[in-house]
């Protein structure tokens, strides 16, 4: 087994050994898709939006993947920073540690995506399953980036987790899908294109090429940022 495979595998194992994490991996998508979706629809109407129940159900699967991936990525950096730096210093190097961390984060992101996708499928069916799967994974990838960056920059676990939650809340409740604004600042939110894809896929509609290009660019950008954040956390540095 290569050093990369061994390290990534151990990093995944480290996360999955927390019993609460395992419970939340199932409970959060179920909660979001079965309960939160209805609330999301009502909330959208209150904000002047027109999010139909089916769209709200679809998008809530994406939000569950985003929330879980973001918090997992944050705690992955926050709780393991010291040991990761020691391992890098022992000879593995910050780049290999960062690659192993992102591989572990992606493996968890795929797991979260699968659970969210299955919950959505069982709840309401999906018009375009493949499109929906890609869109949910994009939500997860984007929040791996956000969680990792917050973890690398904010060392305090409480402050960091609140910051991830704040970004998530702004992203979830300020997008054009939730409000009446069809354009403006909301279109620059990180999950704007992924949300469009997921809503369209849930209703069995195709999506314009611009959304596909947009989601690819944002998700790849987020993963690149995540890699840089994991590297930043594993290297020698000046303390804050």
């Amino acid at each position: 087994m290569s050093a990369f495979a061994l390290t990534s595998g151990r990093f995944v194992r480290e996360q999955l050994r927390a019993p609460l994490t395992l419970v939340l991996l199932i409970a959060i998508p179920v909660f979001f898709v079965l309960i939160f979706a209805d609330v999301l629809g009502e909330f959208s109407k209150a904000l002047g939006g027109t999010l139909a129940t089916q769209s709200a159900t679809a998008i809530s699967a994406g939000w569950s993947a985003a929330f879980l991936s973001g918090t997992l990525a944050f705690f992955m950096v926050s709780s393991s920073r010291a040991a990761d730096r020691r391992l890098a210093l022992a000879g593995l190097g910050p780049a290999k540690v960062a690659l192993s961390r992102i591989a572990a984060a992606l493996a968890l992101g795929v797991t979260v995506t699968a659970v969210a996708f299955l919950t959505l499928w069982l709840r309401s069916g999906i018009g375009h399953p493949l499109h929906a799967l890609v869109a949910i994974f994009a939500f997860a990838a984007i929040y791996i980036g956000i969680g990792a960056v917050v973890g690398a920059l904010v060392s305090d676990p409480l402050a960091g987790s609140l910051l991830v939650l704040a970004v998530f809340s702004i992203d979830a409740f300020s997008g054009p899908q939730m409000t009446s604004a069809a354009s403006g600042v909301g279109t620059y939110l990180p999950t704007y294109h992924a949300a469009n894809l997921l809503i369209a896929a849930g209703g069995g509609q195709g999506s314009p090429a611009a959304d596909w290009r947009g989601v690819a660019a944002v998700a790849l950008g987020a993963l690149t940022v995540a890699l840089a954040a994991f590297w930043l956390a594993a290297r020698a540095r000046s303390p804050r």
Partner: protein, 244 residues
């Protein structure tokens, strides 16, 4: 961890009648019979704390220097907050320095003051990961780990997760990870905190055996009661080292 930076020799022109140690110090050479394996010269470090308008700069190291030779046990003492751990982390490469030179020869082992471990991984999984980082094959790893588990007497905890271990056993793992690749230079930051008396004595026996085998060892502590076991002691005062 073998980044080496060359240092310039101070000019000679020595007073006659100097002892070997005084002469070596003046020449920037090792006072012990072995050759130098670690040298830090004029290391400076400041930390910036707080945010404007309460931002302040704390100057921790103002030109700290030390030297460790092969086959030598050296102590580094100082009051709480004197910068011992900062100096250690700079020497190891965990922290960047503002100025000065750090030079080291061969493989380095580092035992941090607070165990830097993954709470949910087992003792064996830690050895597995660090062996890979040190470039050890399975045979070398098993041999080294087996010996250390017996020496430090914690073989029955191999399958335990770190979060399930007592503070003392965590510290044993912390130390074993620094020793498993038989480094040329060993840096120990308060290595025996949490050890019981027997383990404490065993720790010194282990250190002395390794010194006899040619390892250069630097031990950091805020109080060193075992000065007779050490070849030399540096004291950190106001950011500078003074050899005691």
């Amino acid at each position: 961890m073998s980044a080496a930076e060359t240092t310039s020799r101070p000019p000679s022109g020595l007073e006659p009648g100097l002892t070997r140690e005084e002469r070596a110090r003046a020449l920037g050479e090792c006072p012990a019979p072995g050759h130098c394996v670690l040298r830090a010269e004029d290391v400076r470090k400041s930390f910036h704390r707080g945010v404007w308008p309460r931002r302040r700069t704390v100057e921790v190291l103002r030109g700290a220097s030390l030297m460790v030779c092969g086959g030598e046990l050296v102590g580094l003492v100082g009051e709480n907050g004197s910068g011992k751990s900062t100096l250690m982390q700079i020497v190891v490469g965990l922290l960047t320095r503002d100025g000065g030179i750090v030079w080291q020869e061969g493989r380095l082992g580092y035992c941090p003051q607070l165990p830097m471990l993954w709470g949910k991984l087992t003792v064996d999984e830690h050895f597995e990961l660090f062996a890979r980082a040190y470039g050890m094959d399975a045979g070398a790893r098993d041999g080294a780990v087996g010996g250390l588990l017996v020496e430090l007497q914690f073989e029955r905890y191999r399958g335990y997760r770190v979060e399930e271990l007592s503070g003392g056993t965590r510290q044993k793992l912390n130390l074993a990870l620094a020793l498993m690749h038989e480094p040329r230079v060993l840096l120990l930051d308060e290595p025996y905190s949490g050890f019981d008396w027997e383990t404490y004595l065993r720790f010194w026996e282990m250190s002395e055996r390794r010194r006899e085998a040619g390892m250069g060892i630097l031990i950091v502590s805020h109080i060193l009661t075992e000065r007779e076991r050490l070849d030399r002691v540096y004291e950190l005062r106001e950011g500078r080292t003074v050899q005691g």
